[in-house]
Symmetry: C2
Subunit: 274 residues, 2 copies
């Protein structure tokens, strides 16, 4: 049960669970004070705080941070990158946009290409889509059955535990939008000549499988939530709220780490450059 | 000879040339109108324009952009990334910070790891240091002689021509600071407890080889300037001017490309999402 003082507890999944996304309202705003302008200011302030934390995280070099952004088309993965991570130095944050695997990638196991892109010491890496596509898409399309999907959930749990045990902090965010909100955003993309190129016919095919994807997401999230790689379900019909919630959760996670500047030779403090 | 109407022409090297960096004043401000606050505002406005151009560049997907930042320690490579590229979406710009090669990388030719990180279609990649370290450092340290260095210049020219002929726009910037300015910046780094960790003993060794590096840079830039991968010498004692000059040159280069949104099925404009 959620603690009364933490409004985000119901959205945090840190252990295997049965899950139905229907129980989560995409229009909820558990982080909002009700004033959109104030929320926006807080997001901007948090983005600057995250920039400072990233700097310390990099200097410390004992941890790695992997952020996973999942969600259906138009759920706001790109917008999160800009709104939450956009004030960090381009040096400090690496993003990987996962697309359909290449022929060479398909010739390996599905985690092979993922493993190559996980963060190194001091790095923050954001996955825009991720290995979760490899258990969602083939399941909905019938390329794998539920038994094979369960095998993959277990493989993913083990893979993420390896990363965690070797110094990686893993935060996974499911950007949860409603079907109505997706229709509006897809339509807006089509109606804007400068954004129309982002539209793909496959977006509508995926939309037609909405219920199947909601079920597949529910199962995948529930099966891969773990203490070492928790999922957060982010109500994302409001873009401002989405950014606010993710930025707050990131800040909390980074502040919970014992980050410090590295120990240096004390003589350095008195050194004069010639 | 420079055209009278282009104050930046003397700083652009687009063909092999004899070059001595002593002829370039690191404190020059060919882009500045003399009002630092106005220059800063222009940098900020240009960074936003570059964000919009990056968006179109990505949509177009016919070109790739490789930006090479070179310069001695504290010359401002990190600051350029933040000041010039910092308003682009983290999705739009990839940075690669080249460090000393790993054992596996040393077992291949020096361009092997570089080639793996060049931009794909629609991508902007910024190299923070680059393959030029492989012709500067070993030459100054005596690991290769001038004959071997000349061989590498030719290899680099050929490599960059390959990239250019296959759709990559290459812009190379040499951030040129004075020895006095470097002393002040290194000292400032040492004096600030939150920045001291950035200081490395090797910084002073490299500084002690200042003249040798200036000569090596002069030769390398002159030998690898080409129409397909020009060098720009950026007077960088002023951080604001450095950003202003690089942002203007980037904007000019991007605007010179025939960028356009891709052709789409006209039916898309009338499509209604269900």
């Amino acid at each position: 049960m959620p603690k009364p003082h933490d409004p985000l507890a119901p959205y945090r999944l840190a252990a295997e669970t049965e899950l139905d996304l229907v129980d989560f309202d995409p229009a909820a705003k558990p982080c909002s004070g009700g004033d959109k302008a104030a929320d926006k200011r807080e997001v901007e302030a948090l983005a600057l705080e995250l920039d400072a934390l990233q700097n310390l995280f990099y200097a410390d070099r004992r941890f790695k941070l992997l952020v996973v952004l999942q969600g259906l088309d138009t759920s706001g993965k790109d917008g999160t990158l800009r709104g939450v991570f956009g004030r960090m130095s381009p040096l400090g944050v690496h993003t990987v946009s996962w697309k359909a695997p290449s022929s060479a990638e398909r010739d390996h196991d599905y985690l092979w290409r993922i493993h190559q892109q996980v963060p190194a010491a001091g790095e923050i890496t954001v996955f825009n889509r991720s290995h979760y596509e490899d258990v969602l898409v083939p399941l909905v399309n019938g390329a794998i059955d539920t038994k094979q999907a369960r095998q993959r959930y277990a493989q993913i749990r083990d893979f993420e535990r390896l990363l965690s045990e070797t110094g990686t902090v893993i935060l996974k965010f499911m950007l949860h939008i409603s079907k109505d909100e997706q229709r509006e955003r897809l339509q807006a993309r089509l109606d804007d000549p400068e954004k129309r190129w982002k539209f793909q016919a496959s977006d509508l095919q995926t939309r037609a499988q909405w219920d199947a994807y909601q079920r597949a997401y529910g199962r995948a999230l529930g099966a891969t939530a773990s203490p070492w790689a928790p999922w957060h379900i982010v109500p994302a019909d409001s873009k401002t709220h989405r950014n606010l919630m993710i930025a707050r959760l990131l800040k909390t996670s980074l502040q919970a780490l014992p980050l410090r500047y590295p120990d240096l030779d004390p003589a350095l403090a008195k050194l004069k450059v010639q």
